[in-house]
Amino acid sequence: MGRLWAGFTELNEVREELRKTREKLQQYESIAEELNEIRYENDHLRKILNLSERIGYESIPASIIAQDPDNWFRTLIINRGKSDGVMVNMPVVAYKEDDKAVVGKVVEVRGSISRILPIISSDIRVGIKLGEGREPGLLYGASSNANVCVIDYISRAVPVKFNEPVITSGQGGVFPAGLSIGTVIKSEVLESSAYQRIIVKPVIDFNHLEEVFIIKKEPDKELLQIFGEVE
């Protein structure tokens, strides 16, 4: 009789433990689901910002020693040249805090100095991808004295959000894909155009830029020949 009673008590205890275990399992399941969601979101964001991919190129550190003395041009002169292995059309990046972002590309190389065409120059053209939708577009400097860029060839139908990241597309043979450029600050839809005009604020503050890194990536000559940039 005593054992039978004890069996009932144990059964109740086991039932109670089972209930608690099921509750815990549900909690863990929901945590696992949440973790999966966070992992997915994290992977997605990494993909957008391309933080997961470290650019596998050597770089040459350089200092800006001069800039174009005329208001019509925006080029920068750095203290590295042919003797340091710098070549025309090599991409140039800089760090702002921990963010690596595009400065421009090398357009002229001499013995120990080189000239950089920055992304805020209206002479440059950079293939980009915009935001989560990775919409392709073309970026260039807005004007000769503004520190912002413009993206063209983004369809009017594409929704553009404030602060959306802009990265290099890798097309064009100069810049590696996934380098950060800036964020969207404004989008203008013109009645006369099928495309919208997107204003981008570069990550790099060109007024206070002192140190840059030239990525030792040889330009894709075949692509540049197609674009007529190499004779």
């Binding site: 800006i64 020693i65 001069a66 800039q67 174009d68 003395p69 005329d70 208001n71 019509w72 041009f73 080029t75 357009v107 002229e108 000239r115 065409l117 209206s122 002479d123 004007s143 000769s144 004295n145 503004a146 520190n147 007024n207 002192e210």
Partner: protein
């Protein structure tokens, strides 16, 4: 003229280019526009010593400016040389030097230089009419603003030559 004023001119040309090009002098730019000190010097020389001195200085300093800039050869030379010649036609003997006339001469000369550069930009380079507002007008105002004190300094530097010319 003796050799001394030529040396002064060479030093002033190099000094102007250093001030305009070195990042340490970024403080002089207002809303992204720097004054064209070299151009002010050329107009001063043309205004004080005549068209020949102005156009030769404009040509030589313009070539130097082209060489250190990303500009195609001649892009910055031609406007300076042309304005050196034009400004020399309205010399000190015709227009008396005071703050208002100096500012006005530099303002009008800067506008003409800007328009010539814009035309050249269409030929050599990609240009936009928006540069009238973003570069030409602000630069002309800025040049006009700093021209009187610069003319005063240049008057001191070229004092003997001005006396020799009868001013």
């Amino acid at each position: 003229m003796t050799v001394i004023p030529y040396i002064f001119t060479a030093v002033l040309i190099i000094l102007s280019l250093i001030i305009q090009g070195h990042p340490s002098f970024d403080v002089i730019s207002i809303a992204g526009v720097k004054p064209d000190l070299l151009f002010i010097l050329i107009v001063y020389l043309a205004y004080s010593f005549g068209s020949f001195y102005g156009e030769v200085t404009g040509f030589i300093s313009g070539l130097l400016h082209d060489a250190i800039s990303n500009a195609p050869l001649g892009f910055l030379t031609f406007p300076k040389m042309a304005l050196g010649f034009i400004a020399g036609m309205f010399g000190r003997s015709i227009i008396k030097s005071n703050i208002i006339t100096v500012s006005l001469i530099i303002f009008i000369a800067s506008l003409i230089k800007g328009l010539i550069t814009l035309i050249l930009a269409y030929i050599f380079h990609q240009a936009s009419i928006s540069t009238v507002i973003s570069i030409i007008l602000p630069e002309a105002f800025y040049n006009a603003l700093i021209a009187p004190p610069l003319f005063f300094i240049f008057d001191k530097i070229y004092e003997k030559e001005l006396e020799r010319e009868g001013f």
